[in-house]
Amino acid sequence: MTTALPDSPGALAEALATTGYLADDGLATAGFLALKLGRPLFLEGEAGVGKTAFAQALAAATGSAFVRLQCYEGLDAAQALYDWDFPRQILHLRAAEAAATAAASATGAPPDAAAIEAGLYDRRFLIARPLLQALETSPCVLLVDEVDRADDEFEAFLLEVLAEAAITVPELGRIAAETPPLTVLTSNRTREVHDALKRRCLYHWVEHPGFEREVAILRERLPAVTERLAAQVAAAAGRMRELDLIKPPGVAESIDWAGALVALGARTLDPDLAAATLGAVLKYREDVLRVQATGLDALVAARP
């Protein structure tokens, strides 16, 4: 199901659009360059601007499998790369032992210890975690989500896997990717990611979409939303982003909000509906108070 790789940023943007993701020029160029140069793509930006969704859309648009590694503190090789399935190995060992003993008593030949041992470290006892999965699946988009949450030692290890597109399991040997996975890393900047890792990557800061693009995204994601409602939600979200809030709404929040309004059967946004559904878009009490103080009437006017 591999599709031909897009030959320009525009073509990639179109391919992404067919999967329901509307990328702007910058993001399309970043994705195109990552594909073409075989570099990992390092994405940063406000929460909810669609960094994770971009990786998923990229996988769908290029006909690749999608593998996600969610980083968290304490993530280690056994959770990110591979682990041996020890209980199954013990079961195998016991079964093989019993079979060999039975065979030995029947034929008089001694049990073949080497064969049992070799059978113990078979690929089927290896549990592939996301990084190994990504190497074994080609083509593939690997999303390393929130890499800043992992410990800094993990970065060095990730760097090694990304640079080689291969890993070595001591008992099995080297496992190399047929085609290196297209890697997308995201970070929330809770700490500085190591320079060595960033240097290998293309860097892109994902921004909030402009008004037209946000309307298009809302209509794409929620077919039930009316044009007027989408325009009002996009305009209101845009205004909120200028209000200096603790957590300005991202596209994810405006989609949630529009979804909530659609669920209430709304066709246009009015101040009462906005007041009732503000919780879908603003997640801090201070922010809700601030938006209410600036007036909900002005907020729901259709044009930005």
Partner: protein, 373 residues
């Protein structure tokens, strides 16, 4: 890219990268290589494509983007393609203002007035430890700087998510079974594990406005010692009329080199203070996202605030809810007759976990103890 045209484009792009480096973006040769490959991969070079290809290959963090935009406009005479908006403050103009009382090493007079600098006796050190940083003679300052470099603030530990092999604690199935495998599947001993300990993140916010200038050098050296102690778990920002992240500059091993790098990085030495705005910038861009969460946050400031005390109270409250401990270091606190009456200080006070002095070496030692608490 082929022929002479290609060479011209290459020269043009390399020149642009050099401009960008001068403006303060760390665009090393390998990044420039990547940019050339990226421009090549894009085919026809339009200004829009050139803009994005350069930005995605030469920049590495949001702070670079505003500088990049300005450099791009200056070098190519154009503007960034319209379409989306990136709200950021104006690019920090490269500033080479030297900090007060920390010129290039060797500038301070070492002969003449202070012949007794070398070989300070124990009692002299004792006295020095209690001298206010603002009142030091140049000779004493050198000695204090040497002692400051010896401080190594260590933060309190928290439980980590990563489990480590330990005696006692919960059973570790993986290690138990792995050990059993070594004995032909016979379980011989239960392996156990426990959650480990990790030091908390330390965030230092140093006020570098005019009223703090007698202390800025000593406090930044304290920050340098902290960064050297735990380079990946310490973040340092300066507060003035704007917020500047100086962690990177402080990673230099040598304190004087680090302080010089800091003085280059800070555009607003000894300007006014807009504490509330600077704190808000920190919280919006770093703190809320995670830098301040569960961290020990230390604010070095005298609390002189030009803006409204209410805004400062609100931001301090916000910070105190994110941080594990919020410590305020005010050099004037150690002076006789001090009362936290400065508008900003009084507003911040209810939200603090600790309020310490930090005007002498002894006071900074006390701060080290508070941080480790």
């Amino acid at each position: 890219m082929t022929g002479d045209g290609g060479r011209d484009v290459t020269a043009l792009l390399v020149g642009f990268a050099r401009t960008l480096r001068h403006a303060g973006v760390a665009a090393g040769p390998d990044r420039v290589q990547t940019m050339l490959r990226a421009v090549d991969a894009l085919g026809d070079v339009t200004p829009g494509r050139l803009y994005w290809a350069g930005r995605q290959t030469l920049c590495a963090e949001p702070d670079d983007l505003a500088i990049y935009d300005a450099a791009f406009a200056a070098y190519f005479g154009g503007h960034r393609p319209a379409g989306d908006r990136f709200v950021n403050a104006a690019p920090p103009p490269p500033s080479i203002a030297a900090p007060y009382a920390s010129g290039p090493p060797g500038e301070t007079p070492e002969t003449g007035d202070e012949p007794q600098v070398l070989g300070l006796s124990a009692s002299t050190v004792e006295i020095l430890r209690q001298r206010d940083f603002a009142l030091l003679t140049p000779g004493e300052r050198d000695e204090v700087r040497r002692l400051l470099a010896l401080l190594g603030p260590e933060t309190a530990a928290r439980r980590s998510r990563r489990r480590r092999p330990a005696r006692g604690g919960e059973v570790d199935p993986t290690r138990t079974v792995r050990a059993a495998l070594r004995h032909a599947g016979e379980p011989t001993r239960l392996a156990t594990r426990r959650r480990g300990q990790r030091p908390r993140r330390l965030v230092l916010l140093v006020d570098v406005s005019g009223s703090m200038s007698p202390y800025a050098d000593a406090l930044l050296r304290f920050a340098h010692a902290a960064v050297r102690r735990r380079p990946t778990r310490t973040e340092v920002f300066t507060l003035g009329t704007r917020l500047t992240r100086i962690t990177r500059a402080l990673r230099h091993r040598d304190p004087d080199a680090a302080l010089h790098a800091v003085s280059v990085a800070i555009p607003d030495w000894h300007g006014g203070t807009r504490l509330a705005d600077a704190l808000k910038a920190f919280l919006d861009r770093w703190g809320q996202r995670g830098t301040a969460r569960g961290a020990i946050v230390v604010v070095f400031s005298d609390g002189w605030e030009r803006g409204s005390p209410d805004a400062l109270a609100a931001q301090t409250h916000r910070l105190s809810r994110l941080a594990y401990r919020l410590v305020w270091v005010n050099p004037h606190r150690g002076k006789a007759g001090f009362a936290p009456l400065a508008g900003g200080m009084a507003a911040a006070l209810p939200h603090l976990d600790d309020f310490v002095a930090g005007h002498t070496l002894d006071a900074l030692d006390e701060l080290v103890r508070v941080i480790a608490k």
